[in-house]
Symmetry: D2
Subunit: 363 residues, 4 copies
Amino acid sequence: MKNSFGNNISLTIFGESHGASVGFVLDGIAPGIPVDEENIKRMLSLRRPIGDISTSRQETDEFTIQSGIFNGYTTGTPICITIPNKDVKSNDYETNANIARPSHADYTAQCKYGGFQDYRGGGHFSGRLTAALVVAGGILIPALNKKGIFIGTHIKNCGNVSDIEFTNYKADIEKLQNLAFAVLSDEKSKEMQTEIQNARAMGDSVGGTLETAIIGVEAGIGEPWFDSVEGVLSHALFSIPGVKGVEFGLGFGFANEKGSTANDSFCVNNGEIQTKTNNSGGINGGITNGMPIVFSCAFRPTPTISKPQETVDFVEKENKIVEFKGRHDPCILHRARVVVDSISALVIADLLASRYGTDWLAL
Amino acid sequence: MKNSFGNNISLTIFGESHGASVGFVLDGIAPGIPVDEENIKRMLSLRRPIGDISTSRQETDEFTIQSGIFNGYTTGTPICITIPNKDVKSNDYETNANIARPSHADYTAQCKYGGFQDYRGGGHFSGRLTAALVVAGGILIPALNKKGIFIGTHIKNCGNVSDIEFTNYKADIEKLQNLAFAVLSDEKSKEMQTEIQNARAMGDSVGGTLETAIIGVEAGIGEPWFDSVEGVLSHALFSIPGVKGVEFGLGFGFANEKGSTANDSFCVNNGEIQTKTNNSGGINGGITNGMPIVFSCAFRPTPTISKPQETVDFVEKENKIVEFKGRHDPCILHRARVVVDSISALVIADLLASRYGTDWLAL
Amino acid sequence: MKNSFGNNISLTIFGESHGASVGFVLDGIAPGIPVDEENIKRMLSLRRPIGDISTSRQETDEFTIQSGIFNGYTTGTPICITIPNKDVKSNDYETNANIARPSHADYTAQCKYGGFQDYRGGGHFSGRLTAALVVAGGILIPALNKKGIFIGTHIKNCGNVSDIEFTNYKADIEKLQNLAFAVLSDEKSKEMQTEIQNARAMGDSVGGTLETAIIGVEAGIGEPWFDSVEGVLSHALFSIPGVKGVEFGLGFGFANEKGSTANDSFCVNNGEIQTKTNNSGGINGGITNGMPIVFSCAFRPTPTISKPQETVDFVEKENKIVEFKGRHDPCILHRARVVVDSISALVIADLLASRYGTDWLAL
Amino acid sequence: MKNSFGNNISLTIFGESHGASVGFVLDGIAPGIPVDEENIKRMLSLRRPIGDISTSRQETDEFTIQSGIFNGYTTGTPICITIPNKDVKSNDYETNANIARPSHADYTAQCKYGGFQDYRGGGHFSGRLTAALVVAGGILIPALNKKGIFIGTHIKNCGNVSDIEFTNYKADIEKLQNLAFAVLSDEKSKEMQTEIQNARAMGDSVGGTLETAIIGVEAGIGEPWFDSVEGVLSHALFSIPGVKGVEFGLGFGFANEKGSTANDSFCVNNGEIQTKTNNSGGINGGITNGMPIVFSCAFRPTPTISKPQETVDFVEKENKIVEFKGRHDPCILHRARVVVDSISALVIADLLASRYGTDWLAL
């Protein structure tokens, strides 16, 4: 199941940037979960390009429910939703079919698919498919919210600017839901947007990190080997175009710690067991410990830039210079965060379904 | 399949630190692959505690072939190998059955298994199970070597010391095979060992990062969504006790780059397409591009330390002080690297089997 | 993955009888396989209701390629195809939403989905979804044909009439491809159709068996435990609505045999190893032996009949009499055989992909 | 996962007839399920050869718990149990390594494993591996019993003798538990045993059918497509050596019915919805309807017989006569029924875990 993810709740995605549609099949969803199309649209709007810090490709992101939803509720059968592709300018791409855009998947697609790939607009590798992930998230996240589980992602670093840290998870997550540019500090938000505008002006792009917190997941979820919370989350997160690193809690920061400074002491607080610090990011031995699950994803700068770059024609095997003039994003972070939220929701719902069954989500 | 990993070639592990044995079932291995028990022993010896920078628990790591190997070759049927547990001192642990060692899995095990877990020596969470992974690696790695695929891991950072970078992958990987303490620079190796001895003297432990290179994997392996090389590798790697971060190529370093500095230009070199830099760590769009696959794993400092720590009795829900006197490792990096190699071999063999079939490995 | 089947080549189906569409995602298909839409239409026409021996619901079975096919070839990425639902008469059903049609899935759907199921026209349980299977078969079967593998199914028994046996597999399979009513003997074909017309006139329905032969599959395919050819084929075949039994070779006939009469002697024939008889249906120990794979599926009579039947209102928990007046099939066998062919193609292609990789199908 | 079965509760088996051991890993079992070793031994004794109607190979079937059980309870981690091989007479087999026993898997094993298979005693294809299935059943069946689910299998046909039908499922299942030769009618039991003795005296073997009833499974379990109860059960059942057909309810008998005679009317009985007949074998649309799940498995006569048979040397590609003198079973039915019970328990437990989670089994 190559393009599928999840055990009890599983998502299969399909589509090419310039084909008829992108979409997904979401299976294993309990019957009786309300599907709020307005909420899905709201979430899609968070992924949509904004102003001068995004591509000018306008995606209306209208979606069609093909199956699995009836009278506003999930039926319990597979949910297929398609998002038709519109505002497609294939001509931009066709002349460059054999030119590998640096750090894009054009060349690897050629190696894998042998020339049969739909190369237009990145084809199946297009970030456009993340719209499908967001629609799935638009069904799953409200269901998790009802269970007391909340997910929020902010831009931790962008260029050389860093956001403040989470202070009150619940309130911060709530705040982030309504921000088109998800930064906790308004000041840092502006600075980051300036960074992006500057990069854009240079025909360049910037990278950064997203940090996500998931609260309300009880202790005891996940598996010690292979299907650890870290393993399953990272597996899914690395699907998001541009993600090149995933860390939990202190993550790579652990390298400079000692056991005595890095360990999270346990304590009893109002009769509940907690840890005093959360360096472990809510996970010990692959299993949730009841503290907020906290992780960061490193995103590479968008590889599509306007500057001339050295590359090859992979059919002719000749060196070439490519100067990309199509629409593109100077930064993907603000658009990606709702994708991270969505894919996290899939993973968490699936891990819980493993322990409590697929019915659980609707109870 | 919670304790299993892999699609066409799959590994299921089992065992508890103080049970009868730890072991694995490796399925999907082509018939006719030679199994060199001496090589397996050699690899196990790389995982074994050494001198004053490891625990004093001595593991002979003798293993018993239960099935799937006949006359020195794989039969094509599932390979089960068990490693009996010896030199077990359960009494050390029994008095502390309800005390959560900070940043260990004692508490999460209790939450997940409700008191039925075998708590002795970390039970199923014990690093001891990685011996099983190494035995599996001892079968897979030579088979991959025959295909021109080589895997090597060095300690990139340990405490505050950093190793030099890979310069000649092939030669460096070869050198690492024979090092009990896998550091490319002899000078840095000594410095790191001193760091570990110092930590040990303080009753403390150190963290660090391992960096792995895999060479010889052709371009075109992996999947664009979900089963990206990054996704599958990270999923497996996060199973290794202590891993809290995984990054590919520049990884978190991408956050401070621009597209123009981070992108890997393509070029034609002796008729072959390559990239000039390898910031992407050999993977574009989730798929190998023919360059070395390079990734790093962040390891937390071993959570078991001799210093007194605040914690709880999770049954009585009372605060406690724990002062751990058992045998333990002040650093796990040098023992973990052969585990990283082994698990990487599993992932790579499986990804290739997906494209070329399970027979491929023996051809 | 509940609504999915297959390991390396996998099919996920979705849809409800009266929803927007039924369809599928077919994943793991090698790039470069030609997709002949005319052939798909031809196969769909074999599933379509015919004359007075079928329902009068007319399904045009137009289909929309959403993804995975480009310029007439598979791209290697997931293929999603939808078949929009038309000629839908929901009103027929709505008044009976809580009445369990005997031996239909109305009641079990209620138990499983708790009232949220799309009950119209059988919803997700509708035979309509088999159209999706046939479209998938329309892609897979020509690819297998190129590999020398051919699949044919005839009506072995219908009511009290039995067809003649396969004599020349190759020629018989070819003949069957062009028959709307797939019976080898023209005489028996007429008798069977008369049986069906008689049942229809009585407001009743008939059952029967389909027998399938698959030729050209080499020896050595399948697994000894669990993923035996029999196990995987039966798993898939029991998804076809109405199938209540699956047997291979002599099947239930073995019960009356002795070892000496049932065993298939081996012999060398023109340097090739064959069996003299094929009581085993081409499979020993779960693995193909190179002889034709032969199996039969028992179909229950279509449960929808016009006669009054005793049943219940499962919400009110009251006894009821149901007299079904909607369109329905007095026999499903002739429509089902192309579904059997299609699902068999999926299984065989997947088993081969397991051994030779997903690339194999396009080589 | 070739030698594995199950989604949430999964079984992986391994071993060869003359290797060190056969065994299994059972994963996904809730913590806290009592493991009664005496019950496992009792079940193994039902599989053991008896008197003059079985092989003279004596298997003590002692087993070793390698992992996953602690203080008499499941821990929630993977359970590995091995059954060491003893009383092994490999010499019987070695001279015949290249001779294909008719209707055995020797030839298909050669085609699949290319000469690397462990050919001694059937190797991985040996019925001996079913002992592992029975041990797994010995853990699962008592757990299901606690949930009110009971499973019983009787020999329905053996040679030309047929047993009476189930009349009182609960009582009949209870009776069968204690019978070494599982026939409901004492008279028919003797007749069948005479048939087997006669076959043995002739150097021959007999086939037959086993019929199984599972009671206490609530309505609403299973999936409409692919993971139908019939599909999943048949998939697992066809792994049992010798099974060549599986049917549910009337099964192949449906072929001669009409809808009006085959349909199961629903009725309200003491406020509960039931069907008046159970031709559907407790399953509609792939999903349980609350009635007993009833199915039959057709077993071929044991292929190992003493009579001379025509066959080939598959390495030399020469015709040969084989006259098998080793120990063998003239009938496998009475030994197989506890295997059918065990594998059915696995499937039912897994289907329920899918809906209610893995914790459910211990609640």
